[in-house]
C-alpha cells in the first residue's frame, strides 16, 4: 500500500511539472515568434479568369519557436453590410521549429456568386467587412485562435456601368450603343459582354456580344446591333448587360440626337 501511494505521489509530481513547464515554454516560444516577426505579409495579387475573381495573399512564416506549429487554418468571412458574400478557408501544413513556410492565402469567388449575393458591388465600390480568423496549435496541445474584424475596400469591376449613348441609323437598321464603365478591380477582366436592347414596350430589338479585355480604368465598348424589326424601335427603352453569362446591370437607354 505504502509503495502504491509513493508511486502515485511521484506520478502526480511529474504531471504537475509537465503542466507547469509546458505553458511556460509554449509562452516563451510564442514570445520568440512575436519578437522575430515570424510572419511576413507580401504584396497581395488579384486576377480574373473564367468568370472567377482570384485573390492571393502571399506570406512567409518562419518558426523561430521550439515547438511544431500545426493545424494552421485561416478563415475569412466577407460581408457587405448584412449580406454575407463568401467564406474562404485555407489549411496550411505544419511548420517544424527552425523551418519556414512560403505560401499564399488564396481566395476565389465566381462572378455568378457575387451577382447572387449582392449584385450592387459589381457596379459600385464598397467597403467589405471581413472577419479574419486564424487558428494554430503549438506543441499539438495548446490551440490559439485569433479573430479580427477588418474593413477592406472593394473596387467594382464595372463601376458606373451605363449605356451612355444610343444612336439609330434607319438606312442600315443599326443601333449603335456605347457602353462605358470603370474597372476599379485590381486586375484586368476579360470575357464576353452581351448587350440586349428592348424597346419601351419591353420587346427585344436585338443583342450583340463582344469579347472584351478591360484593364483597370475607364472602358468604352461600342455595340452595333442590327434591328430585325425596325418599326419596333422607340426613342427609349431598356437594356440588359450580361458578362460571362451573368446579369450585371439593367437600365434605361435613350436615343440621342
Amino acid at each position: 500500500m505504502r509503495q502504491t501511494i509513493r508511486v502515485l505521489s511521484w506520478i502526480i509530481k511529474l504531471f504537475w511539472i509537465i503542466i507547469l513547464v509546458l505553458p511556460i515554454t509554449v509562452s516563451f516560444s510564442l514570445t520568440k515568434l512575436l519578437e522575430a516577426r515570424a510572419i511576413e505579409l507580401k504584396e497581395p495579387t488579384a486576377s480574373f479568369s473564367n468568370g472567377t475573381f482570384h485573390l492571393s495573399f502571399p506570406f512567409h512564416f518562419n518558426n523561430t519557436g521550439f515547438y511544431d506549429v500545426s493545424d494552421i487554418n485561416v478563415t475569412i468571412t466577407a460581408m457587405h453590410g448584412e449580406k454575407k458574400l463568401a467564406t474562404f478557408s485555407n489549411v496550411f501544413p505544419k511548420v517544424a521549429p527552425g523551418t519556414t513556410l512560403d505560401t499564399s492565402y488564396n481566395a476565389s469567388i465566381t462572378l455568378e456568386r457575387i451577382a447572387q449575393e449582392d449584385r450592387e458591388i459589381l457596379t459600385n465600390d464598397a467597403e467589405i467587412n471581413t472577419e479574419v480568423s486564424a487558428f494554430f496549435r503549438v506543441a499539438y496541445i495548446l490551440g490559439f485562435k485569433a479573430s479580427l474584424n477588418v474593413t477592406m475596400p472593394w473596387g467594382a469591376p464595372f463601376y458606373n456601368l451605363s449605356v451612355s449613348e444610343v444612336q439609330y441609323n434607319p438606312q442600315n437598321q443599326l443601333l449603335l450603343a456605347i457602353v462605358s464603365f470603370e474597372n476599379h478591380f485590381k486586375s484586368q477582366i476579360g470575357g464576353t459582354m452581351l448587350l440586349e436592347l428592348y424597346n419601351s414596350q419591353n420587346e427585344s430589338l436585338g443583342s450583340k456580344a463582344e469579347l472584351i479585355v478591360a484593364a483597370p480604368g475607364l472602358q468604352i465598348v461600342s455595340f452595333e446591333i442590327t434591328v430585325a424589326d425596325p418599326p419596333k424601335v422607340t426613342k427609349e427603352g431598356f437594356f440588359r448587360i450580361v458578362f460571362e453569362n451573368v446579369l450585371i446591370s439593367e437600365g434605361v437607354w435613350e436615343i440621342v440626337g
Partner: protein, 152 residues
C-alpha cells in the same frame, strides 16, 4: 463526592482536549494565513495576465476561499481519518472548479478589436487526471490509516 469527582474528571478531559486542539487550530490558522498570503501575491503578479477575462476576479475569489478552506481543514484534521476525506473533497473541488473556470478548456479573451481564444483541452484533461490520481491517493491513504494498528 462522586458527582464532584466526575465533574472534575470531565473538566480535566475538556482541558486536555482543548490543550490538544488549540495549538493544532492555531498552527492550521497560521499556515492557512501564510498560504493565503502566498496565493494573494501570486494573484497580484499573474492576475494582470487574465485582466481581459471578465470573470477572472470572481473565479479567483472562489478558488482562493475554496483552497483556504481545504488548507485549514486538512491541517486541523491532521492525524484523523477526516484529513483524507478533505483531501478527496479538495481534489473533487479542483476538478469541478477547473472545468467550470476554464469553460471546458477553451478561454476567450477580448482585446479591443482582437478576440483571442486559447484551447487547452489536453492540458485540462491532464489536470483533471492529476486530481483523480490525488483522490485515489487520498482513498488509499485513508485505507492505510484505518488499517494501521496503534503499534504502527
Amino acid at each position: 463526592m462522586g458527582e464532584l469527582g466526575d465533574l472534575e474528571a470531565k473538566e480535566n478531559r475538556l482541558k486536555r482536549r482543548l490543550r490538544e486542539i488549540l495549538p493544532r487550530v492555531l498552527k492550521a490558522l497560521i499556515i492557512t494565513i501564510l498560504e493565503g498570503l502566498l496565493l494573494f501575491f501570486v494573484w497580484i503578479f499573474v492576475g494582470g495576465l487574465f485582466g481581459a477575462y471578465y470573470e477572472a476576479g470572481t473565479l479567483f475569489t472562489i478558488f482562493f476561499w475554496g483552497m483556504l478552506f481545504f488548507i485549514f481543514t486538512i491541517r486541523v484534521s491532521e492525524g484523523t481519518i477526516f484529513k483524507y476525506g478533505f483531501v478527496v473533497a479538495r481534489a473533487l473541488f479542483l476538478i469541478i472548479y477547473l472545468i467550470y473556470a476554464t469553460q471546458g478548456g477553451v478561454l476567450t479573451l477580448d482585446f479591443a478589436e482582437l478576440h483571442l481564444t486559447v484551447e487547452f483541452v489536453p492540458l485540462l484533461g491532464l489536470m483533471v487526471f492529476i486530481n483523480v490520481l490525488d483522490m485515489m491517493r487520498g482513498v488509499l491513504q485513508a485505507i492505510e490509516f484505518t488499517s494501521m494498528s496503534p503499534q504502527d
